[in-house]
Symmetry: C2
Subunit: 304 residues, 2 copies
């Protein structure tokens, strides 16, 4: 069973949301109404040795990179809602193979990125594990109710834009060095360009599919337009490798031209790669109108 | 190095708190000012197979008990601040030895207790680990700024009261079945009886010491008065076993008599076990005035 399927079943068992839950579980963040039209955003993400990073060999990251990635993944969730990241808590379980110096360097990586993004650590828990290294980070952010961007707002006819490029996030080191798109997410919601957003963490195809299901629409991808991270990157890699941490943005068609024109981040490409369509099955189609599932694979489920 | 020592070093590296951080890291919960004199409480705690519960043998808990304990530990942190628990998020990393049925039963245990305490799950993350089972839970609660109770408010002359009894939490199964003292914590702060509180999770002695250090006081314990969980429980076990999850309450001396008289929870003993004293070394003393460290052991550090 996939993480999505398990969580859907679990969410269905939860009691009906009280009125201060503006965004119930199932989006990049949950959202709680706090005051004066503001929403508190909350999300949690994990980083697990041997699952989210290599424990040995050429791709083994430094402790600083592991810490940085943990915070960066969570910042990316806030970015996808158009929010400001504010605070975070870290829970860390380490096997005896990780000494105090490892832990210090892990927190160095977290704290360095936290200063860059103006986000503050407000709590934590440390414990020992028998053999693995596991850490989770809970992030708190903020956004106005008028600006918050959910997964569920895409309409048939909306354009799908993406930031940056896709595929080969492991071999290029991108999965450790990516820059969360908080600034870009804020700009998009401030200027009213995004009807829905999600960050592409598990793969362009799987996350585009999540956006479709949440919005009750389908998607026709212009696969030839998808920006590839390197000249060697295949379309299949771009669609399914995952860990791109770019924004998938649904934008109303009538604003697409203006969005392209006004996009102020010269160093970061914004690319139109598809169009949302009416579809009861919420399928992601290729340019020929058949469902996309390259090599039978749709993405990387960190749970399965 | 202990968890306390590492976290103290880490906290010293954090930037100065912005004004909306009412309670900085280092208490049972962090506290953020939200609106109209309210504080949002946030805490995170973990549960790790082989560390917080037995993986094999007579003491091995059911998946429901593991889930229940994870939430209960966090509820206990909210109780110690005098807060109302509201929402929580769960991050869970499971080895292949844990199947979907294990995960369902784990969440059954969490959700059953959550209904009892009126607290709602608003988010989560599931991932696979190579060999261990690790879960963390982040809890959000609420309390008015006028009522919030911190570790740091104890004064020389204050009395130390405790709820319930201590020791042998493992062999009696208490560490799995304990009831978080949220109702009692609320009552104490509503009636202005507590100048400081902490929940005894790592052991009466170690947690009383934390309360002393945070408040800048010492403590003289009347060890003969400490309520023992069973007739067989030794004083050393009561002081150092840990996992009691009872409240340690500093109460002004002039209110002690009234507190005993008005305590409305007939089924739960409230016992006076000591007096806070002026002390630069923040030491916990026995009745003879010498520092307490039975068997050289002060408690159970889940990190060391």
């Amino acid at each position: 069973m996939s993480e999505d399927a398990f969580l859907e079943k679990l969410i269905a068992r939860l009691p009906v949301s009280p009125p201060d839950i503006v965004i119930p579980p199932g989006d990049d963040c949950a959202g709680l109404r706090i005051e004066g039209g503001r929403i508190l955003l909350v999300a949690v993400d994990q980083i697990i040795g041997g699952k989210h990073y290599h424990l040995e060999g050429h791709y083994k990251p430094s402790p600083e990179q592991v810490g940085r990635k943990l915070l960066a993944r969570n910042l990316s969730d806030i970015a996808a809602m158009g929010g400001y990241p504010r605070y975070f808590l870290v829970a860390c379980g380490l096997s005896p193979a990780h000494d105090e110096s490892w832990l210090e360097r892990f927190f160095d990586g977290i704290l360095r990125l936290s200063r860059e993004f103006g986000v503050m650590m407000i709590g934590g828990d440390l414990a020992a594990t028998p053999t693995d290294a596991v850490a989770s980070l809970t992030i708190l952010g903020e956004v106005s109710e008028a600006q918050v961007c959910r997964r569920s707002g895409a309409q048939p006819g909306d354009c799908l834009f993406v930031t940056g490029s896709f595929g080969r996030s492991l071999v290029t080191g991108w999965h450790l060095s990516f820059k969360p798109r908080c600034r870009e997410g804020r700009w998009l919601v401030e200027h009213g360009f995004a009807s829905a957003m999600i960050d592409a963490s598990d793969g362009l195809l799987i996350d585009a599919g999540r956006l479709c299901r949440a919005s009750g629409v389908g998607l026709k991808l212009n696969t030839a337009a998808i920006p590839l991270r390197t000249p060697e990157t295949s379309l299949e890699e771009a669609l399914t490798d995952g860990e791109d941490y770019e924004l998938l943005i649904a934008a109303p068609r009538e604003k697409a031209r203006q969005l392209r024109k006004e996009w102020p981040f010269a160093e970061l490409p914004l690319t139109l790669i598809g169009e949302f369509i009416a579809s009861d099955s919420h399928t992601v189609l290729g340019p020929d109108g058949t469902p996309l599932a390259p090599g039978g694979k749709v993405g990387y489920d960190h749970f399965a």
